[in-house]
């Protein structure tokens, strides 16, 4: 029971979890998405 309490105390609250989800979780793929979007946008803006 004590162990459970310790584990639940260690868990980050909702806001921290949200920030982690946005800025930490899968950050590599997120950066790739942003870079790809920027490259594709530049191609479209420059050529079309």
């Amino acid at each position: 029971m004590n162990k459970q309490k310790q584990e639940s105390a260690k868990k980050p609250n909702g806001f921290v979890r949200l920030l982690k989800n946005i800025f930490v979780h899968n950050i590599g793929w997120k950066l790739l998405s942003i870079v790809s979007a920027a490259v594709i946008w530049a191609l479209a803006a420059g050529l079309l």
Partner: protein, 281 residues
């Protein structure tokens, strides 16, 4: 130079619209990446991104290619149709999840999140459970995966996310337990799900004596990068299926070696030689 001038003019005219355009495109691309990764089709990510970029270049006024330009202009429709045809079950599930986003944050990462000692303990538990079930002629089907299985396979069973133990595995495959008729999906030292339904192999080369459990074990290893441990209910023989090939008559040492290889806890060549030697004996 005109290329950069075009970009500058567009950014100067409507900077906010450009920023929103890039952010929305990034969100769209990230959604596509998550969808492909979750369905074990990560290799398609580069292809789709290159296809989109090539489509923009080839359909541009600068290239002036009327036929290819028209095809590429409608490329996005082609990509969407291909995705719907290639992943019909996943598309349906994705749309259903959009409608009920209760557990959309649930996902399975490829990281084990377990120490080497914990992985060794998990291997010992799997081997002991397989041996015990083999002695009692209890059928079992255990999928060991280093990557993600498609969610529709995991969702076909019951999600557990429990620490693996010998007793838990034996309890799941107890013939009176409701989850015994299906596969257990293990990643690292955790049982992700139990009672999962798997695609059956359609191969004609499989021995007719082998039942549906073996066919399911081979079928899932044909489609995904997994190691499947199958314990025969009739004979108690422990077999392993990998890359669509079934190897039978594993003892506890061979099984331990194979699992250590799979978990990256052992160098591959030595244990492979050992396996071949034993198979030849």
């Amino acid at each position: 130079m005109w290329f950069l001038t075009n970009i500058y003019e567009k950014m100067a005219a409507k900077p906010w619209a450009c920023a929103i355009d890039i952010v929305l495109a990034a969100l769209l691309i990230y959604g596509m990446i998550v969808f492909l990764k979750r369905n074990n089709a990560g290799k398609l990510i580069a292809f789709v991104l290159v296809f989109v970029a090539a489509g923009i270049v080839l359909s541009s006024e600068f290239m002036d290619l009327p036929v290819i330009g028209s095809i590429m202009r409608y490329g996005i429709i082609i990509v969407v149709v291909v995705i719907v045809f290639v992943f019909p079950a996943e598309t349906k599930r994705g749309l259903l999840k959009l409608a009920s986003p209760r557990d959309t944050h649930e996902q399975y990462t490829t990281a084990y999140g377990a120490s080497d000692e914990e992985l060794h303990a998990a291997i010992n538990d799997i081997v002991r459970a397989a041996q015990n079930m083999s002695k009692k002629n209890v059928g079992a089907l255990i999928i060991i995966s280093t990557q993600n299985l498609p969610e529709h396979i995991i969702d076909s069973g019951t999600k557990l996310d429990a620490v693996l133990s010998c007793a838990l595995l034996e309890s799941i495959f107890n013939t009176k337990a409701p989850l015994h008729d299906g596969a257990v999906f293990v990643r690292g030292n955790r049982i992700v799900a139990a009672g999962c339904f798997l695609p059956l192999s359609q191969s004609n080369a499989i021995d007719k004596e082998l039942g549906t459990r073996h066919r399911a074990g081979i079928g899932v290893s044909e489609n995904y990068n997994v190691l499947t441990i199958i314990v025969s209910e009739e004979t108690g023989v422990i077999s392993i299926a990998q890359h669509g090939e079934l190897t039978r008559y594993f003892d506890s040492q061979m099984l331990t070696d194979k699992l250590e290889q799979t978990y990256g806890l052992q160098a591959t060549p030595e244990s492979t030689r050992k396996h071949h030697r034993r198979k030849g004996d």
